[in-house]
């Protein structure tokens, strides 16, 4: 998981948020009741719905709680089932009868297995749907985060301040070595932290965001052994590798509608996008700064590099992750170490002197950097 300063800062915001929400709620409570009062018919008890969802009210003999499959938090491990919010969005648009049918008389392998155990009466279903409607409107909170670097940073700061104060004024700890030790250790740790964070500014190694569709490279490239270039054919031709169009997905998913892991829900999203002209907004993972001009064709087509050299073990990734930091040093190091396909590609005949060196055994190989791969303007136009 990516751990940056960001998480802790958002944590700070999180503490404030409930207060804010509470204030707003208090202020609005008067208005709210009025609005509800105007509506006809019974109101769902959100609390009961929520308890049902989290399994605090039993929902049937031997059945699992909803939340055990439909996670309310996004996370770094893949959960093939639709998330609570996605599901809530679907449920929010149904009337009660459809919702009931959808929930209790399931289709699809996974749902059949699990949902069949549910025994919910109409009233419970009504409350449950009420909760889901609310969930679809409000979304879920981000996953709580663990203690992290900023907290350590602040803790050390506090500790050092305490040591300093004690050293000069209060003098409660008799051994000065302890103060010094705390300050030295604290300072060096803080400096190291700052240095690392600064160097990593703008880089995003290990970035693995949630995607709008739970697409697994492992299933496609690993298990089903689809060639990378089948979907990313542009990598052979152009600068970018290209993200396959929904139309390309449909080449297979015209037929394949039931996923090994995800069931029908995720594939249905692609079909829906394709049939109803909806864009699929993938989250871009590998980003280079605007002043860097990288060409996939040069590396994949000409250089005959394997995709995995830069992108890591993609065929084993359920959630795609940025393997390397994509820093300039990383590029240059590779250029210095990689042999050019000097003999097979006629383009390189231009380098007559180097060919002579090779023939005469002066050199045993030509590295990319030897023929100017590390010139500034090769990548920075």
């Amino acid at each position: 998981m990516v751990k940056t300063l960001s998480d802790s800062l958002t944590y700070g915001k999180k503490i404030l948020k409930p207060f804010f929400v509470l204030c707003v709620l208090l202020a609005l409570s008067g208005i709210k009741t009025e609005v509800f009062a105007e509506k006809k018919g019974p109101e769902p008890d959100i609390k009961v719905g929520e308890r049902l969802f989290f399994g605090l009210i039993p929902s049937g003999e031997g059945s699992a709680s909803c939340v055990s499959c439909h996670a309310v938090h996004s996370g770094d491990s893949i959960n093939w089932n639709p998330s609570a919010v996605e599901m809530a969005k679907v449920a929010a648009e149904m009337d009660l009868a459809t919702f009931k049918e959808h929930l209790l008389t399931p289709t699809g392998a996974m749902r059949e297995k699990v949902h069949v155990k549910y025994q919910l009466d109409d009233e419970q279903l009504f409350h449950l749907q009420g909760y889901l409607v609310q969930l679809s409107e409000n979304g879920v909170e981000d996953a709580p985060i663990s203690i992290n670097k900023l907290l350590i940073f602040l803790l050390l700061g506090g500790l050092m301040t305490f040591a300093l104060v004690d050293l000069i004024f209060t003098k409660k700890i008799p051994y000065k070595a302890i103060h010094v030790l705390i300050i030295v250790f604290g300072l060096s740790f803080q400096l190291k932290l700052v240095a690392h964070e600064t160097i990593d500014l703008g880089r995003s190694q290990d970035y693995m965001p949630d995607q709008p569709i739970k697409f697994s490279h492992k299933v496609h490239a690993g298990d089903n052994k689809i060639d990378c270039l089948y979907c990313h054919s542009n990598a052979d031709e152009g600068k970018s590798s290209g993200i396959p169009s929904a139309g390309l997905c449909m080449n297979c998913h015209q037929v394949v509608r039931n996923g090994t892991n995800s069931g029908q829900f995720e594939i249905a999203k692609v079909v829906d996008a394709y049939e109803n002209n909806k864009d699929i907004e993938w989250v871009r993972i590998h980003n280079l700064p605007d002043h860097v001009f990288f060409s996939h064709a040069q590396h994949v087509n000409v250089g005959k590099r394997e995709c995995q050299e830069c992108h890591g073990d993609v065929e084993n990734m359920h959630i795609l992750k940025q393997e390397h930091d994509l820093s300039m040093g990383w590029c240059l190091d590779c250029h210095k170490a990689t042999n050019v396909n000097f003999k097979d590609n006629d383009y390189y005949k231009t380098f007559e002197a180097l060919h002579k060196d090779l023939d005469e055994g002066v050199r045993d190989s030509i590295k990319a950097a030897d023929i100017g791969a590390n010139d500034c303007m090769k990548c920075h136009h």
């Binding site: 960001s6 800062l9 290209g242 139309g247 989250v283 002197a353 090769k378």
Partner: protein, 988 residues
């Protein structure tokens, strides 16, 4: 060596040189208005560093990547597609290729299948791309200023047309229509509504030339001129390299006839008589200043002299000496010469035709059987239209991309006449003055958004095809007609049908089916029907006795004359709302963003004026520019400026002198025989790039004459051999194991049209800085065309030199960069890493060529800090930023930039070769400047390849490096200029 001087100030001793004139008008364009002091900056600096460090860590911007749902087969993300199309702005027509990246047109190139232009394009063609992204374009149809839907427009006009009073005319006023389909459509429209009258109005008039041709050939045509077939060209007040008729094609012909490379040892001779210093005149081998009113006298003397030498019995008239000498030369080159004049006067044009007839040039250098279809307008017909309007015979007028209120106000007569027309419809792709008086304002698409076809010469068809979907709610004027006439389908269908019925035949399609032929035509953009021939016309003598009688003596009056001319960048003013064109310096005066009154040095001295003094010319207050070489009693002002409603950039820029244009003998006359001019006492600082970066007293441009060149090809270039002998270096030399890029510029071919400058700006995202910044010498062009004068101020010789980064092997800039942001590549390119640059400008100071440019502000919106921005022309708007080339970094404030030899193009072509597994072919990589050059003056290639064109040019005796005595070892070399004149015998 000649004494070259850059501007008049250089001729004066240092203490006399006038101090730089500051504008008496306070101008603010934002740059100076910032109240932040250095101290504030430091205060914020500390805080922002701290906060940036924290903030940068906390928010990772989530970037979305949204693929196509169904990806079109031909579209590959990040790979450009090229579409063949045609540029036509009512003046010039050039077949083009449009480079489209991810759905956006980002560059225009000439279509290399066109034999006329050979893949070149002019500055205006290059710049027309930016008009597409003009935020001032009319965005939706309006009726009396209120937005209206197209359906409602159609409904209302259908009703109007169906209940039309047949007594009244419904006039469609178009520029010259060279589209055969549109002509047919207008014809069909007229058949449907017989009261419709089609009239043609050209923004700049050449109707006298047509009338003279009508007299001589019985058909009002504009002949094709073949400068490449002439061994001698004599021009009278004509700027055929800059603005006259087809400058791109003429520039190419002209340069090809004067090249001295590849063994060619013969060169066309060019003599020019003119009142102002035009681009064409500045290229002439010999140029004689002549006042506009004397043109008739000069031409009639030439006619007499040629007639006499042709054995005709004519009265002996003593003409100017130069004319006699020219006549001798012309007569010796019968059938291989060409005399042209740009004056819109029938008697002048008749004289020119008669002279060419005597010289037997018809069918050789002038072809009337293949006339060009441009400029079909006739001023006499326009005059008649105005009369009909005045007599209320016209019930409606539709201004179809025409702007007569601006181009021909005719003392307010046009306005009054138009006001008498009850229904006025403006169909415009840009804001115009005429649209303001129209009740219906119907936006038309830019030419890159629509379908059309063109037939420049009979049988040569080109296609205009859209390269982007319309950005605004526009509709092609042709589609308007189709909607109002109730024709089925779109204009595209109409064109295709027309092509199927009228153009397609087995010969032209080489036996292919129509659909295949249509696809091939779309791909090529140009189709030639060799069997289609124009009517063969025979010449019958024009009676010019009245002209020769009228013009038998020089003008004796001492009146001040005013000449109105088109500048190379702005032309007639149609495309004026274009930042690239406004920023482009006029090739001779090197002034941009304004027009001005140019006066001769003698006259300026007489009145005690210098550049920047504001004078009043017939009520118009304008700054003075002293122009060496101008006829003594002549003032000159450029048209195309002073637009009152053109959009954000061009409105109120300079002064409008079209009101000075009057009908003379039925044709619009672009000169006034008498004007009054007085100084107002004010001053105005012109934005000139002229006395910047002065490089005096050194052999920058080397020059020789043809005779000396033939005797010794290295003549004029003796210094090169001397410098070569001294070649030694303390530095160790670079070793280029693969490519070694180099460029050669043939100064003898370069005509100074400045197309390369705009092409470079478009290709490399070069910022537009605006008038105030140019005044502060902050212009950013990577490539400039230096212009030097030599000899006396009344009639100086002119040389010019394109200068860009010379990519020195011993680059002075590289040594001084403290952060190694500029260094040498393994292929000989002087690299500039923008993201590494910290803006010390040491390199700029150390560069002897002054080709490095510093981003004093953020001109293109690369920064996130709004205070850094200087944006006089809207170049930071999202719409205009769509023109940016995604393969080139947009530079932020505080970094140096300069010519990269179009490294992105080099990389692209290298990659193509690598993918194909073959060696790069010579000439495969073309830099932007090279590709657009009509004169083919620029050669780029691999100096390590002994077979390449550049390697051969490096062995040319005329080759030298700029400031080579400094031992910078530039990779850009120049070929010296050769003049086709005798050193000892001159005309004047």
């Amino acid at each position: 060596m000649k004494e070259y001087w850059r501007s008049l100030e250089d001729l004066l001793p240092a203490e006399e040189a006038p101090q730089e004139k500051k504008s008496s008008v306070v101008l603010s364009e934002g740059a100076d208005s910032s109240s932040n002091s250095r101290r504030d900056f430091l205060k914020y600096f500390g805080f922002s560093i701290a906060s940036a460090a924290v903030l940068a860590g906390c928010e990772r911007p989530v970037k979305k990547a949204i693929p196509y749902l169904i990806q079109p087969e031909e579209v590959k993300p990040g790979t450009a597609n090229y579409y063949a199309s045609t540029f036509y702005d009512g003046a010039e027509m050039v077949p083009i290729l449009v480079k489209v990246r991810d759905g956006r047109p980002i560059k225009i190139e000439g279509n290399d299948l066109c034999q006329m232009t050979g893949g070149s394009a002019s500055a205006r063609v290059q710049a027309s791309l930016l008009n597409l992204y003009d935020e001032s374009r009319p965005a939706q149809p309006t009726l009396d200023g209120n937005p209206i839907r197209w359906e409602d427009v159609d409904a209302k006009l259908l009703e109007t047309l169906s209940t039309w009073d047949a007594e009244k005319e419904f006039v469609i006023l178009t520029p010259s229509i060279i589209s055969p389909s549109t002509k047919q459509l207008i014809h069909d429209f007229k058949t449907k509504y017989p009261f419709v009258v089609h009239e043609t109005f050209d923004a700049y008039s050449y109707s006298a030339l047509k009338e003279a041709c009508h007299k001589g050939f019985g058909s009002a045509v504009i002949p094709s001129f073949r400068f490449d077939k002439a061994k001698m060209v004599v021009g009278f007040n004509v700027d055929f390299l800059g603005t006259w008729l087809q400058p791109t094609a003429f520039g190419r012909q002209y340069a090809s006839a004067r090249k001295l490379t590849e063994g060619q040892r013969e060169m066309m001779r060019h003599v020019q008589f003119e009142p102002i210093m035009s681009l064409t005149g500045s290229n002439a081998d010999e140029r004689i200043p002549m006042s506009a009113s004397d043109e008739g006298y000069y031409l009639s003397s030439l006619y007499m002299a040629v007639a006499q030498r042709s054995g005709m019995m004519v009265a002996a008239v003593k003409g100017p000496d130069a004319i006699d000498k020219v006549a001798d030369e012309l007569v010796a080159l019968r059938g291989q010469s060409l005399v042209v004049s740009g004056t819109n006067d029938v008697s002048i044009q008749s004289l020119v035709l008669e002279i060419n007839h005597l010289l037997q040039n018809f069918g050789k250098t002038i072809n009337v059987d293949k006339p060009i279809n441009l400029y079909q307008g006739c001023d006499k017909k326009f005059d008649a239209l105005l009369s009909r309007m005045e007599s209320s015979a016209v019930g409606a007028v539709m201004f179809w991309e025409t702007n007569p209120l601006y181009h021909a106000p005719l003392n307010g007569r046009t306005k009054e006449a138009i006001k008498k027309v009850p229904l006025r419809i403006g169909v415009q792709s840009q804001q115009t003055e005429t649209a303001l008086v129209c009740s219906y304002q119907l936006p038309a698409p830019h030419f890159l958004e629509k379908w059309d076809d063109m037939e420049l010469v009979d049988g040569v068809y080109t296609i205009t095809q859209p390269a982007i979907r319309p950005l605004f709610k526009t509709r092609a004027p042709q589609e308007n007609l189709m909607a109002w006439a109730g024709f089925e389908g779109s204009y595209y269908d109409y064109i295709k049908l027309y092509w199927k019925d009228q153009i397609y035949n087995a010969d032209i399609a080489k036996g292919k089916q129509f659909e295949t032929f249509w696809k091939i035509s779309l791909r090529d953009g140009i189709v030639v029907d060799k069997n289609k021939k124009g009517a063969s016309l025979t010449y019958s003598n024009i009676n010019i006795s009245s002209s020769t009688n009228n013009y038998n003596s020089p003008n004796s009056s001492n009146d001040l004359e005013l000449v109105l001319y088109q500048t190379v960048p702005v032309g007639d003013g149609t495309l004026a709302n274009n930042p690239w064109l406004q920023e482009l310096p006029e090739p001779v005066s090197r002034v941009c963003w304004d027009n001005y009154v140019s006066v001769s040095p003698a006259f300026a001295a007489l009145r005690g004026w210098s550049q920047g003094d504001v004078v009043d010319v017939n009520g118009l207050e304008m700054p003075v520019l002293v122009q060496p070489g101008q006829a003594r009693n002549t003032l000159a002002i450029a048209v195309g400026y002073g637009r009152s409603n053109a959009g954000r950039v061009a409105s109120d820029l300079g002064k409008n002198v079209y009101p000075f244009v009057e009908l003379k003998n039925g044709h619009r006359s672009y000169s006034l025989p008498k004007v009054e001019v007085v100084a107002t006492g004010g001053t105005y600082e012109l934005a000139a790039t002229q006395s910047h970066h002065s490089m005096e007293g050194r052999e920058l441009v080397r020059e020789t004459t043809i005779a000396e060149f033939l005797a010794n090809p290295a003549s004029g270039n003796e210094t090169h051999a001397k410098v070569e002998k001294l070649h030694t270096s303390l530095y160790h030399e670079h070793e280029y194991k693969g490519h070694h890029w180099g460029m050669s510029i043939d100064l003898n071919s370069c005509i100074g049209c400045n197309a390369c400058v705009v092409a470079c700006s478009a290709e490399n995202n070069v910022p537009v800085v605006g008038r105030n910044e140019v005044r502060r010498s902050h212009e950013m062009h990577w490539l400039r065309l230096d212009r030097y004068y030599a000899g006396d101020t009344d009639n100086p010789g002119v040389v010019r030199q394109p200068v860009m980064c010379q990519h020195c092997d011993n680059a002075p800039c590289e040594n001084v960069c403290p952060v190694a942001a500029t260094n040498h590549s393994s292929e000989g390119i002087n690299q500039m890493a923008y993201n590494r640059c910290i803006g010390t400008r040491y390199c700029n100071n150390n560069c002897p060529y002054k080709v490095r440019r510093f981003n004093w502000y953020d001109y293109t919106g690369a920064d996130t800090i709004p205070n850094n921005r200087v944006d006089p022309a809207g170049m930071t708007l999202d719409l205009k930023r769509m023109v940016l080339n995604p393969d080139v970094t947009v530079r932020a404030k505080g970094v140096i930039e300069k010519c990269s030899m179009c490294i992105q193009r080099i990389q692209d072509k290298k990659l193509t070769a690598k993918k194909d597994g073959r060696q790069l072919a010579d000439g495969e990589i073309k830099t932007a400047c090279q590709q657009t050059c009509p004169a083919d003056a620029i050669t780029f290639g691999d100096m390590n390849d002994p077979q390449s064109k550049i390697s051969k040019l490096l062995k040319d005796a005329r080759q030298y490096g700029l400031l080579e005595e400094l031992h910078t070892l530039p990779s850009v070399v120049y070929l010296s200029k050769v003049r086709n004149k005798d050193k000892n015998k001159t005309l004047s």
